[in-house]
């Protein structure tokens, strides 16, 4: 259609337009505040409608897989923190579990309980952060402040445990480095007792909010086939009608001993994802209550071991290292040369707050992994934007990016 000059279309004296289809290419990001990090989107627009979307990633690429090939296994642990930095213990855990499966280690029960406590606290932190930032993107400032306040309490608890608030490195291969500090359980209980009311507050603010519903309902609908084909996992998949939670289906740690439900929805839109995040917070709280009981039972039964006993791979407890010659020698070799897992390969999936976090490790018997592949859920949740965005309007982009819950430390690795 040829352009017709009228009072509404601007007239440029020296510029002729070769294309007459009105298509505009809009660069969204990589520094857009609601791009959740370093996402660049090239959007082809017809008026305000998107006809083609091209996500461009790699602005936070640090080559973690390459780094892993040149680090001993224990050395790589703090690097995993920098993947999904909103819930860093879940990355630590995924890596630790993969190496433990490779070696064939059994972790002491008390360490397992502490790990589960940390994992579920991380899930809560991640979901609260998701709620806060998404609500802020949509314009709900109050929810942002409320959710960040609750997240702050959790960060304080974690800080008491491992000294760090964001990059925890709180889990070791073979167990956990420390026992829970005094007051951990008390503080957690106080928090959990308040949490249902907090969640209700958020829901009161959002569930019947007209703007929230308009931005969320029937927007960004992902069909089941599309979610499966794109490798979606976690809340993204559960919102599209597949009740698949690795904690339930392929249980690791003690998830087969705790009781919890897997919320899912067949709507597939933004609102379904929002509802699932809210419900998962309640389920996490339920798991945490049970973990507290399990921990107290461990204490009563006198189960004090925090690290697996495997002198070939894991250093002895500190007291042995300081008193026994052979333990010190083992420790010295493990710190300087690193453990040498058996020859073989393993792929271990875990349910991180974002979805299926998998670690593929190929070991050739050396102290460095021969190949380590990080399967980060957000990578595909970003990829799906290619197929998801066309047909939507510009304001929907922000709410869709929000509900996909992508973290760029994880997408780019």
């Amino acid at each position: 259609m040829a352009q017709v000059k009228n009072r509404l279309t601007p007239f440029f004296e020296n510029i002729t337009f070769d294309r007459d289809d009105n298509e505009l290419i809009l660069n969204f990001g990589p520094q857009h505040p609601s791009a959740h990090g370093q996402l660049r989107l090239m959007l082809h627009l017809q008026q305000e409608q998107i006809v083609k979307a091209h996500p461009d990633i790699g602005y936070l690429h640090r080559g973690m897989e390459k780094m892993a090939e040149n680090m001993i296994y224990n050395e790589f642990m703090p690097t995993t923190d920098r993947m999904d930095y909103i819930a860093s213990s879940s990355n630590n855990y995924g890596f630790a579990l993969a190496v433990e499966k490779l070696i064939g280690l059994e972790v002491p029960r008390r360490a397992k309980v502490i790990r589960m406590l940390l994992l579920e606290i991380n899930r809560l932190m991640s979901h609260l952060f998701w709620l806060a930032t998404t609500a802020l993107d949509i314009g709900a400032m109050t929810v942002f402040l409320f959710a960040f306040r609750e997240r702050e309490y959790l960060m304080d608890i974690i800080e008491g445990y491992c000294g760090a608030r964001l990059t925890h490195a709180a889990i070791r291969i073979g167990g956990v480095p420390l026992d829970l500090q005094d007051g951990f359980l008390h503080q957690l209980r106080v928090f959990l007792n308040k949490l249902p009311q907090n969640i209700k507050d958020y829901e009161d603010l959002l569930d019947s909010n007209r703007i929230w519903l308009m931005r969320m309902e029937e927007v960004g609908v992902i069909s089941t086939e599309m979610a499966l084909s794109w490798g979606c996992t976690g809340p993204m998949l559960r919102a599209s009608g597949v009740a698949w939670d690795i904690r339930k289906e392929e249980p690791y740690e003690l998830y087969d001993e705790v009781e919890f439900d897997v919320p899912f929805s067949d709507k597939g839109d933004n609102f379904a994802r929002y509802r699932i995040y809210m419900e998962e917070m309640r389920q996490s709280a339920k798991i945490l209550y049970q973990c507290i009981e399990m921990y107290e039972k461990c204490e009563k039964d006198g189960q004090t071991d925090l690290m697996a006993h495997a002198p070939k791979y894991i250093s002895a407890p500190k007291i042995d290292i300081m008193t026994q010659n052979y333990s010190l020698m083992q420790h010295f070799v493990l710190v300087t040369q690193g453990m040498r897992p058996p020859v073989g390969e393993v792929y271990v999936p875990t349910e991180s707050p974002k979805g299926e976090l998998g670690f593929y490790i190929n070991s050739q018997g050396g102290p460095y992994p021969y190949r380590l592949k990080l399967r980060a859920p957000s990578f595909w949740h970003t990829g799906i934007l290619t197929d998801l965005l066309p047909g939507h309007y510009i304001p929907d982009v922000v709410s869709i990016i929000g509900t996909t819950n992508i973290v760029f430390g994880e997408v780019d690795r």
């Binding site: 106080v190 390969e345 792929y347 190949r371 990829g383």
Partner: protein, 268 residues
């Protein structure tokens, strides 16, 4: 004499390995031990050649021919309910026998089983894209191309994904250097002015965090401020700092336990 370093694998090496150390193996078990895997393997074997199959750490691993990959994954998706391609990538064996090993991590949600499909390709060969079967392969294959330089046939958009488009080299190859080039600071100088100008121009400043303490054009020199462009001699007088708090900063000189409150609940 400089120590010999192999050129085909420049990655970190263990600095000490016992001559008599024999690395143990992660146990492999026969596929017959698991009914579901055995049935799946039979179904695949009926149509395609399977070179090797075993179970390792609860997952079945099968080796197939490179040209069968599309067919095998199609069969697995449509008939064996492996509906998700969780992950795919390559392993660099160029130093050993000039091959790449490609693996596809498949998941069946109804059977709760995972299978790893693998095959080898020679260096320089391309793989068949499975993007038509699983959209997730779109980005995985691009990442594999970006990291290893392995192209996928029939891929809709075979471009780099994580590295910049104009990047040279493939970072996850074992031949990819771990350190930068120590002579890189001279390349621009040599190209533009010629080698004989090296003494006059000096090396290119490549450290972006470098601060020159004698530079009064670009840096503020906190505490020793001078007018812009002043030649710095080094004995500029220090500028006295003053704080906003006129009455001084509030400090507790002596702690009085009686009149203070101890907070043990951070959620008070």
């Amino acid at each position: 004499m400089r120590a010999y370093k192999p050129k085909d694998n420049v990655q970190a090496k263990a600095y000490y390995t016992d001559r008599f150390y024999v690395a143990p193996q992660v146990p492999k078990t026969s596929v017959d031990e698991d009914e579901v895997f055995a049935a799946d393997l039979e179904a695949i074997k009926a149509k395609f050649e399977v070179k090797d199959a075993y179970i390792q750490v609860e997952q079945m691993v099968i080796y197939i021919n490179a040209h069968d990959i599309y067919g095998v994954l199609e069969l697995m998706r449509d008939e064996l309910a492996y509906t998700q391609l969780s992950e795919m990538s390559a392993i660099d064996w160029l130093a050993k026998d000039d091959t790449f090993e490609i693996f596809y991590q498949m998941l069946s949600m109804t059977k709760r089983k995972r299978i790893r499909v693998k095959y080898f390709i020679k260096n320089g060969e391309a793989v068949d894209s499975v993007e038509k079967l699983f959209r997730s392969a779109d980005w995985s294959e691009r990442e594999m191309f970006d990291m290893f330089g392995i192209e996928a046939n029939n891929h809709p958009f075979m471009k780099r994904i994580l590295m910049p488009y104009d990047w040279e080299g493939y970072p996850l190859l074992k031949t990819y250097p771990l350190e930068g080039d120590e002579f890189a600071a001279w390349y621009e100088v040599d190209k533009i002015y010629g080698k004989e100008a090296r003494d006059i121009i000096g090396p290119e400043l490549r450290d972006t965090a470098r601060v020159d303490r004698y530079d009064s054009e670009r840096f503020a020199r906190l505490g020793h401020e001078v007018p812009k462009g002043t030649k710095i001699t080094g004995d500029e007088p220090a500028v006295t700092q003053s704080y906003q708090e006129e009455g001084g900063v509030f400090l507790i000189k002596k702690l009085d336990k009686e009149s203070s409150v101890v907070i043990d609940d951070p959620q008070r």
